[in-house]
Symmetry: C2
Subunit: 500 residues, 2 copies
Amino acid sequence: MKLKHWILYLFVLSINVNAQREYEKGAREIGIHSLERFKSFLALANDASNGNEIQDNIRWVEEQLYIHDFEVKLLKTSSLPLMIANLTINNKLPTVAFYMHLDGQAVDRSKWNQEDPYKAVIKQKNATGFQIISWDVLNDDNIDDLRIFARSSSDDKGPFSMFLTALDYLNSKNKRPEYNLKLILDFEEEQSSPGLPESVKTHKEDLLAELLLIFDGPMHSSGRPTLVFGNRGIATLTLTTYGPITAQHSGHYGNYIPNPALALSKVLASMKDDLGRVVVPKFYNGVFIDPLTKKVLEAVPSEDASIKSRTQISTTDQVGLTYQESIQYPSLNIRGMRSGWVGKEARTIIPATATAEMDIRLVVESDPLALIAGVKLHIENLGYTVLNHEPTKEERLNNAKIIKINSKIAYPAYRTDTQTKEGKWLTKIIEDYYSESPVIIRTSGGSVPISPFVSELRVPAIGVPTVNLDNNQHSPNENIRVGNYLKGIETYLAILTSKF
Amino acid sequence: MKLKHWILYLFVLSINVNAQREYEKGAREIGIHSLERFKSFLALANDASNGNEIQDNIRWVEEQLYIHDFEVKLLKTSSLPLMIANLTINNKLPTVAFYMHLDGQAVDRSKWNQEDPYKAVIKQKNATGFQIISWDVLNDDNIDDLRIFARSSSDDKGPFSMFLTALDYLNSKNKRPEYNLKLILDFEEEQSSPGLPESVKTHKEDLLAELLLIFDGPMHSSGRPTLVFGNRGIATLTLTTYGPITAQHSGHYGNYIPNPALALSKVLASMKDDLGRVVVPKFYNGVFIDPLTKKVLEAVPSEDASIKSRTQISTTDQVGLTYQESIQYPSLNIRGMRSGWVGKEARTIIPATATAEMDIRLVVESDPLALIAGVKLHIENLGYTVLNHEPTKEERLNNAKIIKINSKIAYPAYRTDTQTKEGKWLTKIIEDYYSESPVIIRTSGGSVPISPFVSELRVPAIGVPTVNLDNNQHSPNENIRVGNYLKGIETYLAILTSKF
């Protein structure tokens, strides 16, 4: 690099550092100030299986959005309403959609180490674990490693609170976002967003945008800024095999009446080899890790060793060479299996049926219908008559091998190319702001309810996780690290103030 | 056949018919009279999980046995006592032991079509099912097809009541049994008789006899008199395979963290071929259906077609050529299987463990320890490290394939040769009395707690079932057909009055 390039580089760097400093100073102050409002939001119970709880949250959110000049609309669905909030800066500007969800997982109060999961507390980690300390300490400087414990603190009220605070900051500076904003606020994500896929069809005009940013989920385990460019989809299969019409005495009939648990075991065993690779023909069709993709995957700090040691396994399935490679492929997983009884309830019977619940995690290359059809064909080739209903007496008496298969495609996969205009735009913002390149996740293994939005409306989507990985999401003692909360506000600011 | 042979044959037949007539006349009358006592016995609740209930039954039985001159002894066990009652006719005579059990299965009152499962009712079958009728009708002649409904009516208080009534009859005629009698009365058979195997060791002297007759269980489905010369034994295995130390998200880790339900399926699937035959080496060792045995099995009226149509199966396992052949072999059955959750509770996880409960039905040729060792070796040959405890962290991290196997030998098998002196003696009694040859069951598929008595003390044993097959044993609405009850008394009389 020549000297003039060095000077240019340092100049650009100083602008970034200055920009960062600017946010840091003001945003941190306003961020700490926002924690009282965050606390009162967390105080609203938000289990979506209780519609009344959700109504309280909707009212609170609406009020906040009116203050910030949004036009709020509740889209009717066959389930809970979906909230759309628009902040139009200028009709000529593009629109960027932000997705967050504001419902939380149900709570089991007995398992929380605090009075009430909806009454946020501050905790400090010491040698024996987390101890509750006074909320007043939040006025101090050295608070980044403290945690706020409450249901939805990380998943996903935290990011919404960061977002509101970023708007507060912009208001305080008389600034506005650099594009039109569309919030898509989901109040039933933890119930798998039953109203979302239909909204994509019935309210298309209300949902369209140039880019969708998903603010949900934790940052990479390395702690580095993270961008998620895709999520696997999910389909489910329920398989049931049949023995005698009612359970029979295993003494009188063992060796004579066929056992449905053995039949199911043989079916399941036939689907994968000893290295965990699906052997159903064409299951991995279309998936190929090209050299460029390999580079993207290799750039992700490896979690392979830590997954193995954390989950105490000595070997892994060999679908890909690494964890990142593995989740680029569709998966076929037995999530549950049952026949008869085990343990103290065990009975000396030949069970009447055996059932397996499976999930297929889909990737963009997967045709969900083709994968399900492939599994069915594979089982037919084992000699099975495949039904989608309980077998009739005639079907039972006329077929030696019967299996019932019910399937459901829950969400499709989506993946936004990292090299698109949108991908490059966001990557640069994060890179500039943090002065380090973000961890680029090509595909995250899990599935998100927002994906039909992406796959149906063809809007590119990127996930921007801000919360700490050890947040106990979905579990008792959910928390958010204060440092992540404050840094998250700055992340929003960096994104909101960048021309799209 | 020459004329003189014909005359001899008719003469012998007339003696038998006369003997039968003699019993019929008096025993039937005294049998009908005994039903009031039977009813009061059935009124005593007898669930062995409730010790107090059993004490009431013990007192009632003791009282009846004192009346009939028995010496009663309660053998202490680590569980409920075992009752031994001796009626010594003459010290020079041999001793025949009679086994019955007097506890019953627990009752679910809501499922009984009568006020109280312990308040016996008489029912008559009509087009719509069984209807309660007056108890007074039992004085009539045409009562054989009526049923007495109550817990333990068939299993196994009915046979004890028949036995008492047979003694009443002998007393009324000033007759005594032709040998010394030893009753072995079990008050916890429905709990698998936990005190019985130890009694065989600690109270050997009290239990020895020349022959054991087991009065329990139903007659063959043909309705013909039945003798059971053997029962399969039972051992159990619990197999557990291991995935991640705690259940993991199937999206994030599907394709990477090995699934324990798949591992278990592969283990189970490897144990049997597609025709249901165990492929674990040496599993069927020593079992051979020789031509003589084949004849014995073929003489049993075939139930193959009725089992298939009743249980609605189109094909059966092919361990033997027929049902009777199949149960001459040990069996390996999956009685329960569980991993994760199914149905509404299904969760998108890679489960932490998968468990299968298996039972091995043993035959006399089986060495239970060798069969269990064979299954373990077979699984080791699949690459598994077999443990008998939960794996430690070190064991998990150092072994790709871990399985925990816990096993228990519950009861051994027993089988008395049909051609022994005892077998021929009993067969002739039944043949003479019923004027038809009994159904000879070489091995019954189920297992009985009394079998350690046979296998340890080397006493030949034969089962003499008297009750109707459709007695709803172990289920709600247990019953006994009055005709079976009355005929059972005569069966006891035929046996008690035959020189051994």
